[in-house]
Amino acid sequence: MKKLNLRKDQIQKIGLSLMGFVFLLYVYFSFFLGPLNRSRNATLQAMSDRQAKLSSSKDDLTRAATLERDAKNATTRYAALRALNPEGAPIAWFPPRVKVFFANEQLDKAVARLEGSGSLKQSELSGWAKYQWAIDLPQADYATLGKAIADLENAEPLLTITRLTISTLPDQPQYQQVDLRVANVIQKK
């Protein structure tokens, strides 16, 4: 095998060439190919995200259209339940409404007082509040009262009578004094 005899200046030149080669590789990968690859990978990732969004968006549109069809009954019912209670603070409209309701049932002098209010424990009803009311009927006869209570329960589906006290009037045993405690679910507005 022929021995390669290199002079000192030639070895220096080879070393210089190798250094140049290494420098070239460094510059190439660090400043040219690396950024290009990073940019391409980022674009690929972004495109993959967009395509996933596009494909899921079609499902979303279909789901919304199906839901809109299926929820027709629920939305109508929801609107009806919301319409049960007028705008404004319940303390402003509930007592007069109760007074008018019982007056129409031949039970005069009904007085409703707000006892308290609070949130409901169900998370679905976070937009609704429960109001506790005390309703006094100073004079009522049993049959009329029973009918009035039945009408009240039918007319106000979001109202629950939680306590009912009927006691006879000492001087008029044919009449009774009535104390109702009711809870009404009202949307927060």
Binding site: L36, M47, D60, R63, R77, G146, T160, T165
Partner: protein, 214 residues
Amino acid sequence: MGLHLNLLHEEIQQQRDRQRDPLKIGMMVLAGIGALLFLYYGWNAYRTIEIKSRFANVDREWTKIEPSVTAAQKRADELTGIIKTTRVLDQYIDSRFFWGPLLQKIARCIAPNAQLTSFQGALLEDNKSIGVSIEGVAAGREPRAVAEDLRQMLLEQLGQSYSDVKIEFKTLEDLDTIVNISGSNMAMAHYALTITFNQNPPVKPAASPAKSKK
């Protein structure tokens, strides 16, 4: 044999040295590798530009569709909320206890000689159970029996519509007062009844299985 003199020996040697110059060879190798790397870079750049062009198309499509998708998602969330809220409200409405029918049943049970003087009812345990206490006076030759008849009647009537009906006397005591009913004097007793029941209807017993013919 003639003498051959190479007078250009040094010149030839220099030319050979120039040709075998490692720096020159290295530069040529570097240029070759550089050219390859440049071609590779160009290929990669082309692919990147092509991907960016595809991405621009996809992005344009997404920008076009995004408002309607966002609106659809918002509407779907709103509808889901409405459905859930309506369901819970309906459950609330359905689980209410109706006092009207209870008052009617009690009115039917009260005989003319068993007067009711006080009624107190309240919902217990999350609207499932109802507690009622009624007080009154009963008149008759055996006023305690009249009160017991009332208790039995209530038990029977309420048991038809509600489950777990329990009716107990809280107090039952004779009164000194004598009352005149339809021309005859009768003794009186004061009673207080405690009633508890569940608003769910009573569970009817399952029909017995038909006997198989042998």
